[in-house]
Symmetry: C2
Amino acid sequence: MAQSFEMRFSGWGVDADAGELSPHVVDWLESRFHRTLAPRVAPPKPDAVRLRKSKLSGKAASKLAERVGADNVRTDHASRLLHCAGKGYPDLLAMRSGARLAAPDAVVYPACHDEVRSIIDLCGREGIAIVPFGGGTSVVGGVSPIRGGFESVISLDMQRMRGLVKLDEASRIGVFGAGLHGPELEHLLRARGFTLGHFPQSFEYSTVGGWVATRSAGQASSGYGRIDEKLLGARLVAPAGELDLAARPASAAGPDLRAIVAGSEGALGVITEVSLSVSPAPEVTRYEALMMPTFEDGANAVRALEQEGVAPEIARVSDAAETEMGMAFAGVEGVKGKLLDGYLRGRGAGSGSLVILGWEGAAGTIEPRRREALSVLKRHGAVGLGAGAGRTWAKHRFSTPYLRDHLIERSVMVETLETSTTWANLMNLYVGVGSALAAHAPVVGCHISHLYPSGASLYFTFVAPQEHADAHAQWQSVKHAACRAIVEYGGTITHHHAIGVDHRAYLVDEDGETGVAALQALKNSLDPQGLMNPGKLL
Amino acid sequence: MAQSFEMRFSGWGVDADAGELSPHVVDWLESRFHRTLAPRVAPPKPDAVRLRKSKLSGKAASKLAERVGADNVRTDHASRLLHCAGKGYPDLLAMRSGARLAAPDAVVYPACHDEVRSIIDLCGREGIAIVPFGGGTSVVGGVSPIRGGFESVISLDMQRMRGLVKLDEASRIGVFGAGLHGPELEHLLRARGFTLGHFPQSFEYSTVGGWVATRSAGQASSGYGRIDEKLLGARLVAPAGELDLAARPASAAGPDLRAIVAGSEGALGVITEVSLSVSPAPEVTRYEALMMPTFEDGANAVRALEQEGVAPEIARVSDAAETEMGMAFAGVEGVKGKLLDGYLRGRGAGSGSLVILGWEGAAGTIEPRRREALSVLKRHGAVGLGAGAGRTWAKHRFSTPYLRDHLIERSVMVETLETSTTWANLMNLYVGVGSALAAHAPVVGCHISHLYPSGASLYFTFVAPQEHADAHAQWQSVKHAACRAIVEYGGTITHHHAIGVDHRAYLVDEDGETGVAALQALKNSLDPQGLMNPGKLL
């Protein structure tokens, strides 16, 4: 098995890509916190982490090995450690805490759909809970090895199922093994002249099955659409049977089960294969940055782009706080920093709203759209900052999670959360959630990054010194306040991170008691014993 | 209550719009059938139709009247007759048959969401089945007053709930009462500068609640999207509770319940209100017609338009048989007829494929798109026929169902069915279903009318002399053969007509046994007694 898709247990990605904490970041945070950051505490060595004892019976282990081969049933410390948690802030705290961790009792690596079927059947008979595991990038507790009512739990790592099963070029449909990771998927498609156009921040480590299970959006969703919009067909293995939904452009045959597979979060079954709309690989990619007078101007401008049909593939509008934070983190010698400094000096520091645009498409199709878009943006007060700042953003588009690791090592709480609402309610929600966060964190920034004709997403980052007494309780209290504000101000509890463990209490605010009961009935039908991903979603 | 939305019991629409059967149609069909058409048999007078006796108890009737007012609980012959059936071919046969008809035991007209709640609660206590009734235009048995296991059944006519509840112009979201009919809905929106852009053939009589319940597509779906794509929020009253789904641009909060409301077909509850994406009303509308050498050329051409992002709002490609039928029906003196005759004489009669394009949008935005599209079409061999033939199509776009009534009166079976598949499979499905139909009907035509990046719909019309011995059995046998062919050749059992009664046996081919069981579990959760629209969908 390739190890290149496996991340450090204690943080994001791999050591080689982690870089170092910039002194600009430290300086700026210390000035905002009015205190010096705590000295670095290195994460524990893997061997130093204590895991709960595996409860998988020898009999079950050998039956699993009969199905997938002994090499693909792992109970060693390293394998279990890597499947202890996702990459949410509380996960990272736990990994560094020295407390005994809830590890899966085994990690099982199926090679194909039929092996998944066979494993699930066995687990049903043996009473073993199953946690489907893609890239392990969940930030909402989606892969936590909760045993539920069962004696043991396995993590079902899908990384061996990562083929481009079929590419229907005429219909622009790709059929993918669920365990295919972002870079490999794009590599396979680009070789055939196509792209999925799906680039969540977790792109380098997450899997296409995980994207579908969590209704991922992707940074280029404004152009290529969300994963749930691209989902044309799927295979899902549930304890009670299987869904084998053919790739269809559209149908009126009752409620669409594809919309049940999307967002199923491993709690209804294991997604083994997905059929998704693909697009021609772009011939041209162009990033650029602009500055708007205010966040509201920026929001109005990108709304106009989206509603007038000239939005770029990627559109991102940072509020003044996030703009300032980004500028400070880049440092005055940064390309972005220099440009922004000049801009802000001209009009009063700290009040600009950075806009990043990413254009992707066939040669000749971008410029007409872009010209029209820029004229709309200028009507709203945009000043161009050029391609350099845009490219800087693109270069770092997948690396922000490393900064979080560095900050956690300096005892800084840094976390993100996201929501969406209608355009009419966007500023109301922005202020409501922002205020709730500001009561708990000295640094709160926000950006819009997914545009729809009817509304947009809001993505918040908040940063505060860790309260050493109970860093987890500190996080819980901010998270809870933010979730309550999202509900109160009319947002969705999650726009693209999914429900997992963290948002489970708020599903009822989203769907109502009747809706949650209906979803539970659906789950009971597909998974009568409750084997699948206990404690998530429902 | 306005009566203007109520159709003739025995056929489509109202007498005033029905027109007469053109002699061109008769001539052409007689030549194709090699026999003269039977003499006209007029439909029975309403009073001559026998209905089954109402079984609604006096007690239940008075309790219903307490809730909605005595005027809004109707058990008279005329009201019950108008709610006996939808407008499928077997419905029309039944209406004309002289057999005793299964009428609802009463027709109830709620004024608001709370009255719907109250009626459903009462029906639960009294054991009365409920058939939600919008425009009554179902062609798959969706409004048939089946009692299921209950003593009686009411038809719940939503026509009093037809407000534009709210228009959020910034977010382009309209909130509509479920009973709002097409023309009234468009009138309300146009007055505010918007359109829903949803124009199914049933537009003049069907309702927005019915569109959502059946996942309607609309003739302009290529431009404005299907109703399920436009659905952002909904209220559904189920026996077990309510779904009150806020209008949201996007979310990752588990499986999307909006996709369960869409296609619920009255079997999960009553849709009382829907929030839908709306668009600016078009400043310019332009229809035109072209001729392609073959149907396959036409399919390839519109695929290119759709995938290159220059498709018109309406795109329709008729095969040679439908092209010939349309030309024959219009007659040689028809604008279309003359143009087509000239074209076909030039290249050998009978092999052309008629393409209708409809452009809608802001002034200045159509011409660039249109020029690009025409150049694509010409690459595929298109010859322009001008705007006249396009306008002729647009003028008659909602009136084809009247032709069916005229033909039924001359003992002709005329029926349509529709499916969709990927582009790669389109011709395979076309040939497969077409052959199945041709074994039963001398006249079979087809058109593509809804484009997606991944595929398209196929809409078949088939015409045959009625077999008087058992016209219903004749229909059943063709329908069954066509459905089996759709399944065998990889189509969806319905692209926009819904499941209803007619496609119920094929839902398992669509969703599998596990999928159907999951939907049944969902229904049991929302409607534990099975009150809602018995015998439809599941």
